[in-house]
């Protein structure tokens, strides 16, 4: 059973620290980078602490100010949340280090720090929220922060992409909120735990499930509602792209998973779960195909996110496969987050060295002269494909194992075929780096950035040995219905 605790615990600090950092950085942009650095180290430590607490003591529910649900706001720190917090902290830490070398020291670019910490705070809140309305609020906060990050570079493409992203995001949020309203109409409570206990299969519940799911699918960029993602992630500054692709779409997915694990557990019948999984598979192939057809680096990486998000939706058919079937997809979140952040960071290095041009043909020349970044690109790509000695391999393994255990081997076929498609576009990206001719290191790129990129790539390798621990952490999630 979940432990209850009051006061300012790990969970609360995980909200307060980045929020405070964001405020400070907003007020004092000149010192933004140092505030961000300190904050990110602190948040990373806090996330570790929170995970350790879940690891040792099991899931926690924190009632802010001592008010318990249904009236108070509860923070729920269980295995799933702790895992997502850790992933966010890991990616955040590296993106932070990378941004030190990316964000110029003067000019309006320094607004990045406040936006980033704000986003981080919102994400942490999202992962920790224990009720559906708070989730709405955090979703909106995430969307607003993300929109600002996309628009940060200020070009026409970026602004248009930001606008589109905002609109789709708001559309999704509204659908979600409508679902919340229906839920409240039905049950009169908002807390996830209480809603889960009430359950229900009525039409209102179905409508709520539909609206919330579709809204979140749009936010998670599930095919065919993915069209906002490639321009947005493709035109944002590199660290922002990394954050958006690695974490923000995962936030929406996280809520969706949470809802189906708790509130809608009575609705989770095979038909709808297979439908979601099937759409995920379609996304895998569509995204992969688009990635394969891309002729520029950042759209290629962005479409790859569309594909990888598809894998995550296998969590839904796996929900019914047996206890913990969905763990595989959650672990994949970690694998994809690290690899994708690393890819966007590497892409940023290459694009900048190449004078802003990220066409594959010309980027290859730069790749030849920049072994650190190319190496990182290679390792992260391998992780994306699911090749061994990377966390991607472990994730793919768990995914396949779950698929086969659940007796639905066709998902395994899909995973394998999708992996091949991933291989095709990753190696299409890497291949030209081996063309003959001298490399061109291009414009200077801070060594710090190249180093951080490579370090994150190495993290992709190290996490390959964290499979057991990760799964154990995820398993510390109380689930009553299917998937528990």
């Amino acid at each position: 059973m979940e432990g209850m605790s009051d006061g300012l615990t790990w969970a609360a600090w995980l909200l307060i620290v980045p929020l405070a950092g964001a405020l400070l950085a907003g007020v004092w942009p000149r010192a933004g980078r140092w505030i961000a650095l300190a904050t990110s180290v602190l948040v990373a430590l806090l996330a570790l602490g929170a995970a350790a607490q879940v690891w040792t003591q099991g899931p926690q529910v924190v009632s802010l100010g001592g008010w318990v649900p249904p009236l108070g706001i509860g923070l729920r720190l269980d295995g799933l949340a702790a895992f997502m917090l850790l992933v966010a902290a890991l990616v955040g830490l590296f993106v932070g280090g990378y941004s030190l070398g990316y964000i110029p020291r003067d000019g309006h670019g320094e607004r990045f720090w406040a936006l980033w910490l704000w986003l981080w705070a919102a994400l942490n809140a999202l992962f920790l929220s224990g009720d559906v309305f708070n989730l709405y609020v955090t979703l909106e906060l995430v969307v607003l922060a993300s929109t600002a990050l996309v628009a940060l570079s200020g070009g026409a493409a970026a602004l248009l992409a930001a606008m589109r992203y905002l609109m789709v995001g708001l559309l999704g949020s509204m659908a979600y909120l409508m679902g919340v309203a229906l839920l409240y109409t039905q049950h009169g409570v908002l807390d996830l735990g209480l809603l889960a206990q009430r359950g229900g299969e009525g039409t209102a519940m179905m409508l709520a499930a539909t609206l919330m799911s579709v809204g979140l699918m749009a936010k998670a960029a599930l095919f065919p509602l993915h069209v906002w993602l490639p321009p947005a992630h493709g035109s944002a500054p590199a660290p922002a792209s990394a954050l958006l692709s690695a974490l923000v779409v995962k936030g929406a997915f996280y809520i969706l998973l949470r809802l189906w694990l708790t509130v809608f557990q009575d609705l989770a019948h095979p038909g709808v779960m297979q439908l979601l999984g099937g759409m995920g598979m379609l996304a895998v192939f569509w995204g992969g195909f688009m990635s394969l057809s891309a002729d520029r680096l950042k759209p290629l990486v962005a479409y790859s996110t569309v594909a990888q998000v598809g894998y995550l939706f296998l969590a839904f058919p796996f929900l019914l496969a047996g206890p913990g079937g969905w763990h595989a997809a959650v672990f994949l979140v970690a694998a994809h987050a690290t690899a994708k952040a690393c890819l966007f960071m590497a892409a940023g290095n290459l694009q900048e060295a190449n004078g802003g041009d990220d066409r594959l043909a010309s980027v290859a020349e730069v790749m030849r002269a920049r072994p650190l970044t190319s190496f990182a690109l290679g390792i992260a790509g391998a992780s994306l494909v699911g090749l061994p000695f990377t966390v991607g391999f472990v994730a793919k393994w768990i995914l396949l194992q779950t698929a086969i255990t659940s007796g639905a081997a066709f998902w395994a076929v899909g995973v394998v075929a999708g992996g091949l498609l991933t291989g095709a576009y990753v190696f299409r990206l890497l291949g030209p780096a081996f063309r003959p001719g001298p490399g061109r290191s291009g414009r200077p790129v801070p060594v710090l950035r190249e180093g951080v990129t490579l370090a994150l790539a190495l993290v992709c390798v190290l996490l390959g040995f964290a499979g057991s621990a990760g799964l154990r952490l995820i398993a510390a999630t109380p689930v009553a219905g299917p998937g528990g």
Binding site: F133, Y136, V137, E140, L141, V143, L144, T147, A148, A151, G154, A156, A157, L159, L160, A161, A162, M163, R164, L166, M167, L170, L171, S173, M174, L177, M178, V180, A181, L182, Y184, T185, Q186, G188, L190, T203, A204, P230, P231, G234, S235, P299
Partner: protein, 105 residues
């Protein structure tokens, strides 16, 4: 569903507003209309939420009010961001209307 009959007009018009807003958001190229449409959708949702305050027969439930107020704050911030973006786009697009045809990335 709202059990009390007097909540039905709120609920119904809320849904109607939501659908109208959705339609406008999707079909109208002008950005300002899109922003307004989002607000209309928001209002619709809030009305549905308010209709939930009439649950049961006793005192109206205060929680939806609180939720709606929070929602309005959030919607206003979102509108502000959207408008700010629109203003930045205005000189680039030479207007507030999205260009016709499928946009390129």
């Amino acid at each position: 569903m709202a059990e009390s009959l007097h909540a039905w007009p709120f609920f119904g018009s809320g849904v109607l507003l939501f659908v109208l807003g959705l339609h406008a958001l999707v079909t109208r190229p002008h950005l300002l209309i899109k922003v307004l449409a989002f607000n209309v959708m928001g209002s619709g949702t809030f009305m549905v939420l308010l209709s939930a305050a009439a649950r049961g027969s006793g005192e109206p439930d205060p929680v939806p009010q609180a939720l709606v107020i929070t929602g309005i704050v959030v919607a206003v911030s979102a509108t502000a961001v959207a408008l700010a973006l629109m203003l930045r786009l205005y000189p680039i697009l030479g207007g507030a209307g999205l260009p016709p045809g499928p946009p390129e990335d």
